[in-house]
């Protein structure tokens, strides 16, 4: 008898440089380690170059036994070659994009991605025909992948599970229901949940939302947190010169509103003016700034570049392989985050794994607090109040200079339960058990 086969619908699998990529990679690797054949379904490198970018170093730690299928799909609204534009699009690219997003919802009610439904179904049918699947796991977004899994279940009786991560019917940024149960999306989600053998989400508030919405399926709903990857973890901080120039850092996708960033930068300016340790300090932002035509030219990018005289700098994305070195260079971390009680992020785990002081700039009521509480070098959640943030930055500067090796170790120890592999192995094991 051959190995069981997982078709993993993982849009964002390496080499995509997407916020969910690490979770997708480790999930696939775990299935492999547990004796499965794994086929991942993703977009092409070219498609990702238009979107959030590509990090080829991510492929280094993809299990070589995994088969990677890349579909010839592309988000046309991100295409920047004007010679491919129709006159209608050229005359009003913004309206064209809105119309494109709306038209994408004909086949499946999801902007941009709904139109991919039939192409992905055909691709998965082909994969299944060549190597029948024993399980389909979909990782959302895009949510259209649920339709593919459901189709395979109806047509071929292949069981499926959904890794919702954030959850379709909950708007984790605004903290409210994304659509009512009797809407088109609501009816479909209900159908997909009913037929799925398991559902993963990243935190307890989202799980609670689904349990309330689908009490009859509460048993299928599991919290599978994000975590940190051991290879991104820098070595324990060595003793540093207390009079050194401090460097604060932010790493990740820059998707927060301009207004929030403006408040953070004002707080930074204020903190620099009042705290001697911050007088010459620098604040480095690294990550992705916009997609498509706006790449590198967003409002947040402009704000950061205009703050250069305050020691603020903006750099590009960092390859996964270089993360540990980057964190080793920084003295404290700035944790800017959208959302509230339904949002945790993946970044928080990686930040904690460094053992560095963390300054939170997010809503006071936020699920990141659930994992940060107890972290000894955390300045606490203070919202976006400029004065409170400035105080937090000063506090972090003191921590960066005065924290003892024991405190750094305690901070890293706080993160240890969130090592990604240790979180995913039991989750994958449980899912395999549910399949049988």
């Amino acid at each position: 008898m051959g190995k069981p086969h997982l078709i993993y619908l993982a849009i964002g699998f390496p080499p995509a440089a997407k916020s969910s990529t690490y979770r997708l990679r480790e999930t696939a690797n775990t299935f492999c380690r547990l004796g499965w054949d794994v086929t991942t379904v993703n977009l092409s490198e070219d498609a990702w170059r238009l979107d959030s970018g590509v990090d080829l170093s991510l492929l280094e730690r993809v299990d070589p036994r995994i088969s990677r299928v890349e579909l010839p799909l592309i988000r046309k609204d991100l295409v920047t070659d004007i010679r491919t534009y129709s006159k209608t699009r050229a005359m009003d690219p913004v309206s064209w994009s809105k119309q494109y997003a709306k038209a994408s919802m004909k086949a499946f009610p999801e902007p941009h991605f709904g139109r991919w439904k039939n192409t992905i179904i055909k691709a998965v049918e082909t994969i299944h025909a060549e190597h029948p699947a024993d399980l389909i796991l979909v990782s959302c977004v895009p949510y259209v992948l649920q339709a593919v899994a459901h189709h395979m279940h109806i047509e071929h009786r292949v069981p499926y599970a959904i890794d919702y991560r954030d959850g379709w019917s909950i708007d984790v940024i605004r903290g409210r229901e994304a659509f009512p149960p009797d809407s088109r999306q609501g009816r479909l989600e209900s159908l997909y949940v009913a037929e799925a053998i398991s559902m993963w989400v990243v935190n307890e508030p989202i799980a609670e939302h689904f349990r309330r919405r689908y009490p009859q399926h509460a048993g299928k709903i599991h919290v599978v947190r994000n975590g940190f990857d051991r290879d991104s973890q820098p070595p324990e901080p060595a003793a540093k010169d207390p009079n050194r120039q401090l460097v604060f850092g932010y790493l990740g996708t820059v998707n927060f509103p301009d207004d929030d960033l403006a408040k953070v930068l004002a707080a930074w300016r204020s903190a620099r003016s009042r705290h001697p340790r911050l007088a010459d300090a620098r604040l480095e932002f690294r990550g992705h700034f916009g997609v498509g035509s706006r790449r590198g030219a967003t409002g947040t990018a402009a704000l950061l570049l205009e703050a250069a005289h305050d020691g603020v700098s903006m750099g590009g994305a960092v390859a996964k392989g270089d993360l540990a070195d980057l964190y080793a260079r920084w003295d404290a971390l700035l944790f800017i985050l959208i959302g509230g009680r339904y949002m945790t992020s993946g970044k928080v785990y990686e930040y904690m794994s460094t053992g560095l002081p963390i300054v939170s700039a997010h809503a006071v009521v936020h699920d990141a607090n659930a994992v940060l509480t107890g972290y000894p070098l955390w300045t606490g959640a203070r919202g976006f109040d400029e004065e409170a943030l400035a105080e937090a930055l000063c506090m972090a500067a003191d921590m960066a200079v005065t924290a003892s090796p024991e405190e750094y170790r305690a901070a890293r120890a706080h993160a240890e339960p969130y090592e990604r592999r240790s979180l995913l192995e039991p989750a994958v094991g449980r899912l395999i058990g549910q399949r049988s």
Binding site: T80, D81, I82, Y85, S293, A297, L305
Partner: protein, 695 residues
């Protein structure tokens, strides 16, 4: 060969972001050229670009068709209308390896340029521009050679076309006068119009009129007549000269607008109406010069508007369900102050807020919800009113109703589009007041007011009221009180520096209407009497990319100012938040304007102790109106020589100057200080019939 990158922007790109990308282009050895609809030649000059072009500022199209089209298409299409006519852009596009649209409204222009030149990459976004340049740099030399050869061929073809066009124009130039008439059918306006304007410029206005009349006989439709006359007027505008047949051009355009309106073509009628107002009220004809055909003959110049069916429709009486009730003297009044520019309202607003008799709310267009779009986009409002689709009224109702329900009195500061927006809603029992300062008298807005929804139209001076009422006599049926600007002048009182009497202040000079050249002339004459005198210019210098008329005036001013400056006869402060700090060093103030309403800077300087010398504003001089009617006779002068003489006389010795200074301080505080005029505003907002105001 260095890659050539042409970047097109409809907006003004962030300098910081652009600078970051320019470093990457520089690493690729690329030359980057930027053309924008905004004034990047001023704002982005410090960046490391191969060249900059402020397209909109550089080009004043001379075709009425251009403007009519631009008024009814999207911003992206408007950008292309300008870009496609700019030779600088064309030249660089011909040689470009990469065309970059820096923002969404620039995409269409790049798309069109790319259609005309198949060789360069054409991309949307700065990062995409860098990537395309990288591909070119890493591409083979054969591909580059092909591209270059293609570009060279294109440039040669275009130059040949240009030369043919120039030859045709030169040929036509030899046949002026009646000989032009036969050409009218076969030649476009671009050939004929320059010849007519040239005749006018060399003083052959009669000949130009005859030629125009001859050509008009060949043009039988209203549209073609409007095109010819409008093109001549616009050509003058582009040259920065007066347009002798401006009124005829306006009349022809309004006739065309009326025709379109009668045919039910609201979009094109609205565009034609805008073109008529552009011609009639372009600042290049009235504000950027020291003469104005409207000021010369307000009744005659605006007569076509009074006859226009479109104008009648736009200002038709909408009426109100109930008239504003008589104010109750004892009850506090809720006053809504609405303005896009509160500069002259600050002290009045503070006074109202500090009074127990009033509750005050202040709003700007940005605070008005769905109404904001009407105030920011008056074309949309006019288009909707002409189409009769009810959209403008709906937006106005949604945004203004809560304010009208709250307020007893609405005071709209400036008679501009915001005043018209408020008229789209029945004010019910709310009293509606609009204040008109000065420049609005040179716009179409007073002509579009609906008198049935206006209770009071406030002016800041008699002569501006006269000017407006001559344009629209029925406004006299409204209460039209004159209330000078209410400013707290006492705060200007500060001790003067010891040698202040030798410094002549001028507050504000960047508008041509201030006629700073006249002031320079006066001070030059003054210095021949005593070289210790100097002129102190307070305020911003001429900035931006001005119209040709302003550019010419500015160039002349800068030349003369530099001479006077090098001789120690001129100082410039630049913009000051508090003019009082500069006035400490001045002993006199000179008002050299050709046109004023109720100049605050003059009064502030006088209140600070500067002895005033006021030119009899030429726009209103001659019949005892204007400056002569507002100020004591001894303040007024006619010529720079008279100004120099008075300046010298009132500062001849310290005692004379101090006595004059104290007398003038007492004069302004007695008549123009907020403590005096504020009571009139109290009456305006709350208590009395303004006909009883002692003004």
């Amino acid at each position: 060969m260095r890659p050539q990158v042409l970047m097109i922007a409809a907006a003004s790109p962030s300098e910081a972001v652009l600078e970051r990308f320019l470093r990457r282009f520089t690493e690729l050895q690329a030359d980057v050229w930027l053309a924008s609809m905004k004034d990047v030649e001023r704002t982005h000059a410090e960046l490391d670009l191969a060249g900059l072009r402020s397209v909109r500022s550089r080009l004043i199209p001379t075709s009425p068709e251009f403007y009519r089209l631009a008024d009814r298409v999207t911003p992206a299409e408007v950008a292309w209308q300008y870009i496609s006519r700019d030779p600088w852009v064309q030249d660089r596009s011909d040689c470009a390896d990469v065309l970059v649209a820096a923002d969404a409204n620039a995409v269409y222009s790049v798309w069109e340029l790319a259609r005309r030149n198949p060789h360069p990459a054409a991309v949307f976004g700065l990062e995409a521009g860098v990537a395309a340049t990288e591909r070119i740099v890493s591409g083979g030399s054969a591909a580059e050679l092909r591209r270059r050869l293609g570009n060279v061929a294109r440039v040669q073809r275009r130059r040949a076309r240009k030369a043919l066009r120039a030859a045709a124009e030169a040929g036509a130039a030899t046949r002026v006068g009646e000989a032009l008439a036969p050409l009218a059918k076969s030649h476009s306006g671009s050939v004929l119009v320059p010849r007519i304007t040239r005749l006018e410029e060399i003083g052959r206005a009669d000949r130009a009129a005859a030629v125009t009349a001859g050509l008009l006989t060949q043009r039988r439709t209203r549209r073609s007549r409007a095109n010819l006359l409008g093109a001549v007027a616009l050509r003058h505008l582009a040259d920065g000269t007066a347009a002798p047949q401006l009124r005829e051009a306006v009349e022809a355009e309004l006739a065309y607008a009326d025709e379109l309106y009668a045919r039910g073509n609201a979009p094109e009628a609205a565009a034609s109406f805008w073109q008529a107002t552009r011609l009639a009220f372009h600042r290049g004809f009235h504000l950027d010069t020291t003469q104005s055909p409207l000021a010369d003959d307000p009744t005659g110049f605006t007569e076509p508007f009074r006859r226009s069916a479109v104008v009648q429709a736009l200002r038709r009486s909408r009426g109100r369900l109930m008239p504003a009730p008589l104010p109750r003297p004892d009850a506090p009044k809720r006053v809504l102050l609405a303005t896009a520019n509160p500069h002259f309202l600050t002290d009045i607003g503070t006074r109202l807020e500090n009074s127990d008799n009033f509750e005050v709310r202040s709003v700007t267009p940005a605070d008005l919800g769905s109404t904001t779009r009407l105030a920011r986009n008056p074309r949309m409002m006019i288009h909707s009113l002409m189409a009769g689709d009810g959209k403008a009224e709906r937006y106005a109702e949604q945004g203004l109703r809560p304010h009208l329900d709250w307020a007893d009195v609405v005071f709209v500061e400036w008679c501009t589009q915001l005043s018209k927006v408020f008229q789209l809603v029945d004010p019910g029992a709310t009293r509606m007041i609009v204040r008109l300062h000065s420049y609005e008298a040179f716009t179409a807005w007073p002509l579009l007011l609906d008198t049935s929804r206006l209770d009071r139209l406030v002016f800041v001076s008699d002569h501006i009221r006269d000017l407006v009422l001559k344009q629209r006599p029925e406004l006299a049926e409204l209460e039209t009180p004159v209330l000078v600007n209410g400013v707290d002048l006492r705060r200007l009182a500060r001790p003067k520096s010891p040698d202040a009497r030798f410094t002549v202040a001028m507050v504000g000079y960047k508008a041509v209407a201030k006629d700073v050249m006249w002031a320079l002339d006066a001070v030059r004459r003054l210095r021949t009497l005593d070289p210790r005198y100097k002129l102190l210019l307070i305020g911003s210098d001429f900035d931006g990319f001005p119209s040709p008329a302003v550019a010419r005036y500015r160039a002349e001013f800068q030349r003369e100012a530099a001479r006077l400056e090098s001789a120690g006869g001129l100082e410039r402060t630049g913009h000051l938040a508090d003019v009082g700090t500069a006035l400490v060093n001045a002993g006199t103030v000179l008002c050299s304007s050709v046109r004023e309403g109720s100049p605050v800077g003059l009064l502030e300087a006088t209140a600070s102790g500067c002895v005033p010398v006021v030119r009899d504003w030429p726009f209103f001089a001659g019949d005892g109106r204007g400056a002569r009617a507002m100020y004591p006779a001894d303040w007024i002068v006619e010529t720079p020589g008279e100004a120099a003489e008075r300046l010298y006389r009132v500062t001849a010795d310290p005692l004379t100057w101090q006595a004059e200074s104290q007398r003038c301080i007492a004069e302004v505080l007695q008549h123009w200080d907020l403590s005096v005029v504020g009571a009139n505003y109290d009456k305006l907002f709350g208590v009395s019939d303004t006909r009883s105001l002692p003004l």
